[in-house]
């Protein structure tokens, strides 16, 4: 089963292509895509159990692809990619379940391609290959927003795509430059990060290359001030696209910083850590405060996502063991919580055709079970104990304190930021006066789609050591080296 | 004596007249006549050079150009007939379908 990673990447993509070419109706498409994702989930679980807890790349596959320019098909998985792959494969089938009622064939096809693209981007160890999958991820989202979105969808799909591609373009230039440099210095082309790791540049070039990569990833995450596409895009996008963007693609930006920027530009990353930690903390507070007065639910949770992701970025630039573990754990727990919340937003939209706080209210009178789950997931975002969010916030706060006491205090304000908008939100839409005539209770398939997420969030909160064991060695990677380099 | 230089000057003059006619005249037939004029000017120069250097290759080129010009002429004239049938006008300024539309809304 050494090719399991390739299977994980290409099964969804090939199924999508097949389903597109064959004239099948929506029902068959839906069932097939669901079975395909269940299959990849099973594969990923198998891989999880066989993943060893060490800091090396595992299940590595390396084949020469375009020999003349050293572009290889080089993929592998380690602790952090493991998290992304597991989250992707766990959330996708549940996402499909919660949208079982959809009847647009293109929706499912695009989701499959994004699935494959995400897996590919998270597993690539060759820069050109990574770029290929990075763009593969982007294009279906363009279609999803443009075809199936809500108000202002045409403009927002263009804006989102162009903005992201602009960043990726600069990154592509940097990638090509790196390959070229490798050719100059070592007289053969290569785009594998293991090879490029050996390159050395002068200060100015390093800075420009570093900036190009960071720019592309900051747009994706998003980091202040490259975030303005976020609230409007979320408002215009269909829920399925939002779940993927918030729960998975955003984390991929963080992952990419870890995989590429930290590997290729170690010293500069470490030296610039102060700036990024500050930026992360600033973003966390900025986006959290911005969410307080939002009246449109998708925008509110867009800002909430941005806030938590900035916190994660702070974590990885803190360069210590606890902060890195906290960042990894938060990638997982936030993915689960935000996926669940957006899926529930989708359920609200399906029933009421509106996601505006003013039109909702008193849901608890109609649908107590729904309200209970909604409240639970909202609290998991806040980070109460017994949820995964608490463990990750705890580790991140400790990591921040270790970096710098003042930053530690600022990071501890995360305890306050989320509750400010979550509790008001719950009050207005769950309790509050009854503004809806009808709001049907959760149906079986909807229940099935969110219960696994709830159980996983609880498990991550009550038994964190089980989950952390697999990723501990990877988290130590940049702490030992940094401390030994700095000294 | 009349030598190559004179033919060159004549050819250039004819060619310039052709270009100016191409750009400045509005009647598409006249524009086409200017194109033919340009081609003939080139033929003249080629033949003169061939005589001057005693090399037959230029004359071969001139004959090929004449043949191609003839084929061109048939296509052009057929197109002009179709254009006139549709637009009822022989004014070059009239045919601006490839114009860039000015729009002020978003992409």
């Amino acid at each position: 089963m050494e090719n399991i990673l390739s299977l994980l990447i290409f099964i969804p993509i090939f199924s999508a292509i097949l389903l597109f070419l064959l004239p099948l109706n929506v029902k068959i498409t839906r069932y097939t895509s669901f079975i395909v994702t269940l299959f990849t989930t099973a594969l990923s679980l198998w891989m999880y159990t066989h993943f060893e807890a060490n800091s090396h790349m595992q299940f590595v596959e390396e084949y020469a692809w375009i020999k003349a320019y050293g572009i290889s098909y080089h993929i592998g998985i380690d602790g952090i990619s493991l998290i992304i792959i597991m989250m992707t494969n766990l959330i996708m089938p549940l996402l499909y379940l919660s949208f079982w009622h959809l009847d647009r064939k293109g929706y499912w096809l695009n989701l499959l391609i994004v699935h494959g693209g995400l897996s590919g981007a998270a597993l690539s160890l060759d820069l050109i290959l990574f770029y290929l999958f990075w763009e593969t991820m982007l294009l279906p989202v363009f279609f999803l927003i443009g075809l199936f979105g809500r108000e202002n969808k045409d403009f927002m799909s263009m804006k989102f795509t162009l903005y992201t591609i602009f960043g990726s373009l600069l990154m592509l230039l940097a990638i090509l430059y790196l390959g070229h440099e490798h050719h100059l210095q070592f007289s053969h082309w290569s785009f594998s990060i293991t090879d490029l790791h050996a390159l050395r540049f002068d200060v100015q070039t390093t800075f420009l290359l570093f900036a190009a990569f960071i720019f592309a990833f900051s747009i994706k995450i998003p980091l202040f001030p490259f975030h303005t596409w976020l609230p409007q895009t979320y408002k215009a996008a269909p829920i399925g696209a939002i779940v993927i963007m918030s729960a998975l693609m955003a984390k991929l930006g963080v992952y990419a910083i870890w995989r590429f920027v930290f590997t290729l530009f170690e010293e500069l990353s470490f030296e610039s850590s102060y700036f990024f930690v500050l930026l992360g903390l600033f973003g966390m507070i900025y986006f959290g405060v911005a969410a307080i007065k939002q009246r449109e639910l998708k925008k509110l949770f867009a800002y909430s996502s941005a806030s938590h992701l900035s916190f994660i970025v702070m974590g990885i630039f803190s360069f210590n063991y606890y902060a890195h573990l906290g960042a990894f754990y938060m990638i997982a727990s936030h993915a689960l919580s935000s996926a669940a919340l957006f899926m529930m937003l989708g359920m609200i939209y399906k029933r009421t055709q509106s996601l505006h706080i003013h039109t909702l209210g008193g849901i608890v009178h109609h649908a107590p079970v729904f309200s209970a789950f909604f409240a639970f997931f909202s609290l998991s975002i806040v980070g109460i104990p017994l949820t995964g969010g608490f463990v990750s916030e705890l580790l991140l706060i400790i990591g921040a304190f270790k970096y710098n006491i003042v930053f530690g205090f600022i990071s501890a304000t995360t305890l306050l930021i989320a509750i400010l908008f979550v509790f008001k939100l719950m009050q207005k839409i769950l309790y509050g006066e009854k503004r809806l005539e009808r709001f049907s209770e959760l149906r079986l398939y909807e229940l099935l789609s969110i219960v696994p997420l709830a159980l996983l969030i609880l498990a991550m909160g009550i038994f964190p050591s089980y989950f952390l064991d697999k990723i501990k060695p990877t988290a130590k990677l940049y702490t030992q080296e940094e401390t030994s380099n700095a000294q | 004596m009349i030598d190559v230089g004179h033919f060159f000057i004549l050819g250039i003059l004819l060619f310039s007249i052709g270009i100016v006619g191409m750009i400045s005249r509005r009647n598409i037939f006249v524009m086409y006549m200017s194109v033919e004029l340009m081609l003939n000017a080139i033929n003249l120069i080629l033949v003169a050079l061939s005589h001057h250097y005693e090399d037959l290759n230029a004359q071969v080129m001139a004959i090929m150009i004449i043949a191609i010009a003839a084929a061109e002429a048939s296509i052009f004239l057929a197109l002009f007939v179709m254009l006139f049938k549709n637009a009822r006008s022989l004014d070059a300024n009239f045919f601006t379908l490839l114009k860039q539309e000015k729009h002020h809304d978003e992409l």
Binding site: V289, A291, K293, I419, E441, S465, K472 | I23, A92
Partner: protein, 626 residues
């Protein structure tokens, strides 16, 4: 030899009964209703099992003098950061466990009678039991992180129970306020824990290891840690400046106020300071600060209580005030006296709340004392119970409140902090004044309204009776030497109290002054309110006291409004007008550029011919020149 896993079952039994109630309730939403008996069985069975196990273990602990230690599983095991899900039963934990499980169960019985007609009976008991589980976890934890888990858990349940009657927006806002202020405290608490961990955490995070290594921490850092941990206590135990949630919390059902906001959750802060005694014993400056905040909170609470008209709000401010006493004690090193006052306070305060609840029920949910009166004849049993509790809180011998309060006051005087002592003494007078004001207006002074009383459940009377025994006699377990006792309780808890030695005559003087001040307060209350329920004027202080010193309004203006403004500012101005506008100028600039240059493509062939000619000429010139 008893298995220490029973410790885990104390928590597990209430936790599982809560979970079962939730699941059964969830199931009943899709199917037919479940009879209330099922929920009662679970909801009362869980706490009863916990009570039984608690007393079993405490008995073993007392009898054999051993501590119980139970490790459930490893929660987090990173290098240098190891947190186990482990529990301990040592004297301090046993002291807390004894009354929490007992009073908790009694109040559960009371709640059954109180909430019997409520349609959300199941939900109530689910949260009530979950609260007990969190409180048990808090008390029995072996390390600060598990304690914090219980800490947050009780905060969450407090929110769920305060906003129990969610039909009214005010109740939910009260719940939000409680949770947010709690969290502000938690912000300090977590910061303190993080710093503590980073200093000595890798040598072990359970309390015993921390205690052993505490001397390794530099003094200034230790001061900071002690202060930050106390910030958590400020939020949880409603001390200045984070107390404003407590009066609003009275929006919850009365059993909630009795259990959570009187006897158990609010005392968690005191317990925490006692648990961390090894830190506070070293950081005397922070201890002094704690004592001052306790004194101010006690005074403020008592002042506001003097003019409140809602019976539950009076008791809420009274709780804040009494908590101040506990902090004065632990701040100045009298840990066991503080815990002792927690113990006695649990009984008489719960009794007061439960009595108030009985009155509220009987009078069709009337809560304003000015609308009550002359209930002595109509509700004699409740009157006697409330009288016992009021005498206890006023600190009159031989009631339990006297022993605990007197011990604290003596300690304050003997420690040399005369300002704190004076504030505490004055507050004692105010305490008896406002408590008797309540008693007299409700039961004795003539009534303005005529009430038709609803019959009272026997269960309610039974629970009140049980608690009154505690309010009467609990003091005797810690009889001071002066009265011929040995302070067995304090000895047993075995905390590093600072002991001052007072001469016999000093003790007698203090005793007399304490009782005298209390009696003075009673006298003033009786003389004013016996005949009429109108409040006498306090001159210029009238308006501020009535409006609770405008603290809520001040907080709103300083924190809430600016934050809301900032949120809108960020989105409308910074995001939309500045950053996004910049991006739009880039894209619209591009469009503008094309607008100006697209006149080149006018579709006219002649122009194209011109362009081509010019270009070709230029190329040839270039080729010719170079």
């Amino acid at each position: 030899m008893m298995s220490s896993s029973l410790l885990g079952w104390i928590i597990a039994s209430v936790f599982f009964s809560s979970v079962f109630i939730m699941l059964i309730n969830l199931y009943s939403k899709y199917n037919d209703d479940i009879p209330q008996r099922v929920y009662t069985l679970l909801g009362l069975g869980g706490p009863f099992v916990s009570l039984f196990l608690s007393f079993l273990l405490i008995y073993e602990h007392l009898y054999k003098g051993i501590n119980f230690y139970y490790k459930a599983f490893i929660w987090l095991d990173l290098e240098g950061f190891r947190v186990d899900a482990s529990l301990i039963l040592d004297p301090l934990a046993a002291a807390m466990l004894s009354f929490v499980s007992l009073v908790g169960f009694i109040i559960h019985l009371y709640a059954h009678a109180y909430m019997k007609e409520d349609p959300s009976y199941a939900r109530f008991f689910a949260w009530f039991n979950l609260f007990m589980a969190s409180m048990f976890l808090l008390i029995l934890s072996d390390n600060p992180f598990m304690l914090f888990t219980g800490w947050e858990g009780v905060g969450l349940c407090s929110y769920l129970l305060i906003s129990f009657y969610f039909q009214s927006e005010e109740n939910i806002e009260a719940g939000n306020k409680a949770f947010i202020l709690n969290r502000i405290g938690d912000f300090g608490f977590i910061s303190g824990l993080a710093l503590l961990f980073l200093q000595v955490g890798n040598a072990g995070l359970d309390f015993a290891s921390l205690e052993a290594n505490i001397h390794l921490i530099p003094h200034s850092t230790l001061n900071l840690i002690a202060f930050l941990l106390f910030v958590g206590a400020m939020g949880k135990s409603a001390q200045i400046p984070l107390y404003v949630w407590l009066p609003d919390a009275m929006a919850g059902p009365t059993p909630v106020s009795a259990l959570i906001h009187a006897a158990t959750m609010v005392t968690a802060g005191v317990y925490m300071v006692a648990r961390f005694n090894f830190i506070y014993a070293i950081t005397e400056e922070v201890g002094l600060l704690i004592a001052y905040i306790g004194a101010l909170s006690a005074l403020l609470g008592a002042l506001i209580a003097m003019r409140q008209d809602d019976i539950k709000k009076i008791l809420a401010y009274s709780t804040m005030s009494q908590l101040g006493y506990m902090f004065m004690a632990v701040g100045l090193g009298a840990y066991s006296y503080g815990i002792f006052h927690v113990f006695t306070h649990a009984f008489f305060k719960a009794l007061l709340f439960m009595g108030a609840g009985a009155i509220i029920l009987a009078l069709h949910h009337e809560q304003n004392i000015k609308n009550m009166g002359a209930l002595k004849e109509k509700m004699p049993f409740v009157f006697v119970m409330m009288l016992i509790a009021t005498l206890s809180i006023s600190g009159l011998p031989p009631f339990s409140g006297f022993f605990s309060k007197d011990a604290i006051l003596n300690h304050l005087f003997a420690s040399g902090n005369y300002l704190i002592f004076a504030m505490a003494l004055f507050t004692a007078g105010l305490t008896s004044y406002y408590m008797f004001r309540l008693l007299v207006i409700v039961f004795i002074s003539p009534s303005s309204k005529d009430h038709q009383l609803l019959p009272q459940a026997k269960l309610i009377q039974f629970t009140l009776l049980v608690l009154s025994i505690g309010a009467l006699f609990a003091g005797f377990i810690n009889l001071p030497v002066f009265f011929g006792g040995d302070e067995e309780y304090s000895l047993w808890i075995n905390l590093p109290d600072i002991r001052f030695h007072l001469s016999h005559s000093n003790e007698l003087l203090l005793l007399i002054s304490n009782v005298a001040v209390s009696l003075a307060g009673i006298y003033f209350a009786l003389s004013h309110y016996m005949s009429s329920s109108k409040d006498p004027s306090l001159g210029v202080l009238d308006k501020p006291i009535e409006h609770k010193f405008y603290i809520d309004e001040i907080y709103y203006a300083i924190f809430v409004k600016p934050l809301a403004w900032l949120s809108v500012f960020i989105v409308r101005v910074i995001d939309e007008k500045i950053i996004d506008a910049f991006i739009h100028t880039v894209s619209s600039g591009y469009q503008r550029f094309s607008y100006y240059t697209d006149s080149v493509q006018n579709g006219n062939v002649r122009y194209y011919a011109l362009y081509m000619s010019v270009a070709i000429v230029c190329i040839f010139v270039y080729l010719g020149v170079s």
